[in-house]
Symmetry: C2
Subunit: 224 residues, 2 copies
DNA sequence: TCAAAAGTGTTAGATTTACACCCATGA
DNA sequence: TCATGGGTGTAAATCTAACACTTTTGA
């Protein structure tokens, strides 16, 4: 008998907000809940924290289950612990948000889990407090994308400046001045212009850029 | 039998980093751990989350136990969940940070709990991952104090501009230009000059200011 | 030849930073 | 009278924001 045993245990889960950029919109991945309570409701994907894994590991396991992808960007958002947040049992949930390049995402997996990409501006009502989690994740994203080079996680390895600008516009929810935007990008030497040209979105073609992680680490001054 | 019961429960605790401003230094309140494992080690104060309280309520209960004070500023920092973070059992802890005016704090309570104020720049080794929590709290504080009027939570209701400046210097860990600082304060109409004079720290006396919460809510543009 | 997206500089205004002296008072 | 902390303004530099036209090319 020790002092721990005087107290009650609770279930702890993780829920993951997966952001993607597609069709000029910032989207998240949601699915229909497969179990009671709340079966059939739109919901974030989550999972319980096991006894032999850290909460970060639980979140990574959940994310990988869903995407099959490795080494994705993921950060903790915070813990959600209202007593009745889950209608079934007392469950404390720790929310994470992750960024993926939609093009890398296996469409078969999406279908298999019955997941859908939905525009962050048109998220339906979700199970439990998941809408709150999404709102908080979006707000944190907006903050972070201005001061850290996480935008590249939402794009293919090679991207045009117009794509990058549209991504910022989608995340921030406001228009961005093209010339000022490009000026700032030019100041960041770790965003490198390649010799490659993308001709898919214009007749003239646009230069493809790449994020050089090593160069960023040597001189990490990101500011949008 | 439902799907919850396939999973294991864990203990969930809260730990509170209590900041105070005293003798020109930013300090936190720590104590000697009263139970095994880790008895006698320096530690943050914490408590377990009960079955009928939210995590925020658990944090508030813990904070109030310790300070006897109500309506303090407190925010969640995040969840800490390494498997072996607690040497005794698997415990996931959610850290909170709180701000108090040291002068309001009952010295008897401090002595009763065996707590000490220590400078954030000289925090000893703490139990478990508590040093990590403190570092994160400090970093969040630094961020927040530049964009939200939380500094007043660390001061008496009436304060001089020199006090306020020293507080910023202690939190940010760098010197602040007196004239530029006062210029910015003047721009914020919700920091009101009173007719009162503090003569305790100079012969000439310094004007006492107060934070007008209502005025701030009407025009909340805080920027330091 | 023309529609559509790519690409490019300048200027005014706002913000930020650096900096030094006089004031009021009690001891 | 003097030591101590309180209080004040200006100018240079930097940063931010607004703004429009030319280029390239495939259809």
């Amino acid at each position: 008998m020790n002092f721990y045993s005087e107290h009650a245990k609770v279930w702890v889960s993780v829920d993951v907000i997966i952001f993607g950029f597609d069709e000029g919109q910032l989207k998240i991945l949601i699915g229909r809940r497969q179990m009671d309570p709340g079966r059939g409701q739109w919901s974030l994907y989550g999972g319980f924290v096991g006894t032999s894994e850290s909460i970060d590991q639980a979140a990574e396991r959940t994310l990988q289950e869903l995407t099959g992808m490795q080494r994705l960007y993921m950060r903790q958002l915070g813990a959600f612990g209202a007593v009745d947040r889950d209608p079934g049992e007392r469950v404390i949930s720790i929310a994470y948000y992750a960024l993926i390049n939609v093009a890398d995402y296996d469409e078969k997996l999406r279908a298999q889990y019955g997941l859908e990409w939905v525009d962050v501006n048109h998220v339906p009502q979700l199970y439990s407090d998941h809408n709150e989690m999404v709102a908080m994740a979006l707000s944190k994203m907006r903050q972070k994308i201005k001061s850290e080079p996480i935008s590249f996680r939402l794009l293919p390895p090679l991207f045009t400046l117009t794509q990058l600008q549209h991504l910022y516009e989608a995340v921030l929810g406001e228009e961005v001045d093209k010339r000022n935007f490009r000026k700032r990008i030019k100041d960041m030497d770790f965003i490198e212009k390649t010799e490659l040209i993308d001709k898919t979105s214009s007749k003239r073609g646009a230069a493809l850029f790449r994020f050089n992680r090593k160069a960023y680490k040597e001189d990490p001054n990101f500011k949008l």
